[in-house]
């Protein structure tokens, strides 16, 4: 949990690295996995679509961004780039 910094205070790079760490550690279960920014996480079989719901919970608790269900889809959240962009959009609303 961010003890002192809220999502709004983080820069894009911090958000990206936090998401990358969460995905490799909790969802891919391989911390050493070098996840690329544009890698298809679900379409390449690194995690299943159940993990999208977990990502929604994480993004809300970590960045205080609520991503509504219609946005938690494979088409919209398949890569780290897409996820970062969606979190940033949530922070700027």
């Amino acid at each position: 949990m961010g003890l002192c910094r809220t999502g709004a205070e983080m820069n894009e790079q911090e958000i990206r690295e936090k998401l990358r760490r969460f995905i490799t550690k909790e969802l891919i279960r391989d911390e050493k996995y070098a996840l690329a920014d544009d890698e298809g996480i679900i379409t390449n079989g690194l995690m299943d679509s159940f993990a999208l719901a977990e990502l929604g919970v994480y993004v809300e608790s970590e960045f205080d961004v609520y991503i509504p269900d219609p946005d938690l889809t494979v088409a919209k959240m398949n890569t780290l780039d897409q996820m970062v962009a969606r979190v940033l959009r949530g922070l700027n609303v």
Binding site: R29, N44, D48, S49, Y66
Partner: protein, 567 residues
């Protein structure tokens, strides 16, 4: 929901069993009126409410269209749709012609369409399929791959609905349930009208079903739990079904609770992983204002039940009215139509605290205090439902006393007629169906311990490790034949996760990353599961049997030991 009228035909139970001869006597079809037959929910669309009258009209329209396409009594019709209302109407449309419908799994975003079509083509070749019904988009592609006609929705057209359904012989095969293998030739479990109605009558008694019940389900219709409990049971009994797509629910688990709250749901069947998925992945704000206090039973079925999953679920949703007495368990299988056992409505399942070590070494379930170092909590599946019997037997078929672990065998009046077009498969011994599950009994209650074979149950799906190994063996860089796949029980997910261990020669980290990626990607595209752990090891790591085969259990123990866990 509209209030049921008291003058209606009663719920089908053992007492009223004689009132129905075939599935076509389903209350939803025979008493068409304005009451709700089903409601279909999706994330982005408004709910679609189908009255009994609409349902009957559309089913009879589909029946006419299918007859126009040449479908006749006894023809096998495969419904390979995305789960939607059309697949439901087509299933019943085929039924009223006396044809044999079967729901085939859906082509998902991650699955390789080529492989999906190859599996379907194989089914068509071996099962003498009359036609495949699918979406307009998929029909032309599929038509080039399978040796029977393929029709999209447009081919059904607008036809004048039939006036009458045929009245089939109750012993006739009504439909097939395909057993859930990952790849390769699936077995079609053939069920008669009599078997289905016997199951519905006995099971409705076991869960004390009434006309006030409302069933909420996200389960896929190609799986026995979804097809029987989450589809046929409510339509035959004439109680409302609130249905959603499994793919939408996976991403948006809160929709299940919204449905329960909105429609006053009372019954819901879930595989064990779903308790964890809901508890861990529904956001608090998505529960605001919801109530699950109308629920009678959440029935855990289709995979090993974890007591921890029940506890997690009950605690997480206590605030919206879930309490432990709503948590129920059923042991079911497609070959018995559905349920073999059921815990009693209104009370939580019995728990049996046993010595895990003694279980492994002596095959007995010895009770121990909860604070014993080897204590393991087992959740009861309840007692056999009326007209069913279940017992544990040894390798020679002799009945075992209570607390002795053996293969579970089942007898009932809702058994399969046989595997469709597979007379070579005879799963019975002395009139008892051999389940392949291992378990024990205690004073009539049935407890499941595991499987006789290496089958993995991942998120309610049966996964054969050899199917996944075959895929891993095609990855360049993996020593052919030197890969092993096994299940790893995971308390956080409430299910078995899939682990792959493969021998590779190349120690270069970049090459190894590419091989790992390939393994995950190929398995995702060629099977219905996602790999959770990939471990690449050097040649010689894997333990082999004296005959040179990869020993799955031994390698699983070695892998777990390497992670500091015990088997």
């Amino acid at each position: 929901m509209q209030q049921p009228r008291l003058s209606d035909q009663p719920i089908l139970t053992r007492a009223s069993r004689a009132a129905m001869t075939t599935m076509l006597d389903a209350h939803t079809l025979t008493q068409p009126d304005e009451r709700t037959a089903l409601v279909y929910l999706s994330v982005e669309q408004p709910p679609i409410t189908v009255t009994r009258d609409d349902f009957r009209q559309t089913v009879y329209g589909c029946g006419a269209a299918l007859r126009g396409l040449g479908v006749r009594e006894g023809d096998l019709v495969i419904v390979a749709h995305t789960q939607n209302l059309e697949s439901i109407y087509l299933f019943w449309g085929a039924l009223i012609l006396g044809a044999i419908p079967a729901m085939f799994p859906t082509l998902t975003e991650k699955l390789d369409p080529d492989l999906y079509m190859a599996n379907l083509a194989e089914l068509v070749r071996f099962s003498d399929v009359r036609c495949v019904l699918t979406t307009d988009a998929f029909a032309p592609v599929l038509a080039e791959r399978v040796a029977c006609p393929v029709y999209g929705s447009a081919a059904l057209g607008n036809t004048t609905p039939l006036h009458d359904a045929i009245q089939p012989d109750p012993e006739q095969i009504a439909f097939l349930q395909h057993s859930s293998g990952t790849t390769g030739l699936q077995k079609g479990v053939a069920l008669s009208h009599r078997a289905l109605l016997n199951q519905i009558a006995s099971y409705s008694d076991a869960i004390a079903l009434s006309e006030h019940d409302v069933i909420v389900s996200w389960l896929p219709l190609y799986h026995d739990m979804g097809l029987i409990a989450g589809f046929l049971l409510p339509l035959i009994q004439g109680i409302p079904l609130i249905l959603m797509s499994p793919f939408e629910w996976a991403k948006s688990p809160a929709m299940l609770f919204r449905a329960i709250s909105t429609y006053g749901g009372t019954l819901c069947w879930l595989p064990n992983f779903a308790y964890n998925h809901c508890a861990r992945r529904i956001r608090q704000r998505d529960l605001d204002g919801l109530s699950a206090a109308t629920m009678r039973m959440f029935i855990n079925c289709s995979e090993p039940v974890y007591h921890e999953s029940h506890t997690l679920f009950a605690e997480r949703f206590a605030g919206i009215g879930v309490n432990p007495s709503m948590l129920a368990v059923s042991y079911a299988m497609a070959e018995n139509t559905f349920a073999v056992t059921q815990t009693a409505p209104g009370s939580p399942p019995a728990l049996d605290v046993i010595d895990q070590e003694a279980l492994a070494h002596t095959l007995t379930a010895q009770p121990v205090p909860a604070d014993h170092p080897n204590a393991s909590i087992r959740v009861s599946c309840g007692r056999p439902i009326p007209n069913a019997a279940c017992r544990a037997v040894d390798d020679f078929g002799a009945v075992l006393p209570d607390r002795q672990v053996g293969e579970l065998v089942v007898q009932s009046n809702s058994m399969l007629t046989g595997y469709y077009k597979r007379p070579d498969l005879q799963p019975f011994r002395d009139g008892w169906y051999l389940t392949g599950d291992r378990g024990y009994t205690v004073e009539g209650e049935v407890y499941i311990v595991g499987r006789s074979k290496d089958l993995i149950i991942n998120a309610g799906k049966n996964v054969y490790p050899q199917d996944v190994e075959a895929v891993v063996n095609t990855v360049a860089g993996v020593h052919p034949g030197r890969a092993v796949v096994f299940g790893v029980p995971d308390a956080r997910e409430g299910t078995e996760l899939i682990a792959v261990v493969a021998e590779v020669n190349d120690p270069d980290p970049e090459s190894q990353k590419a091989i790992s990626q390939q393994i995950r990607q190929r398995v995702a595209q060629h099977t219905t599961v996602t790999v959770s752990y990939v471990t690449l090891v050097e040649a010689g790591w894997l333990i082999k049997t004296s005959s040179g085969k990869i020993a799955r259990a031994a390698n699983r123990s070695k892998w777990l030991a390497g992670r500091g866990e015990t088997a």
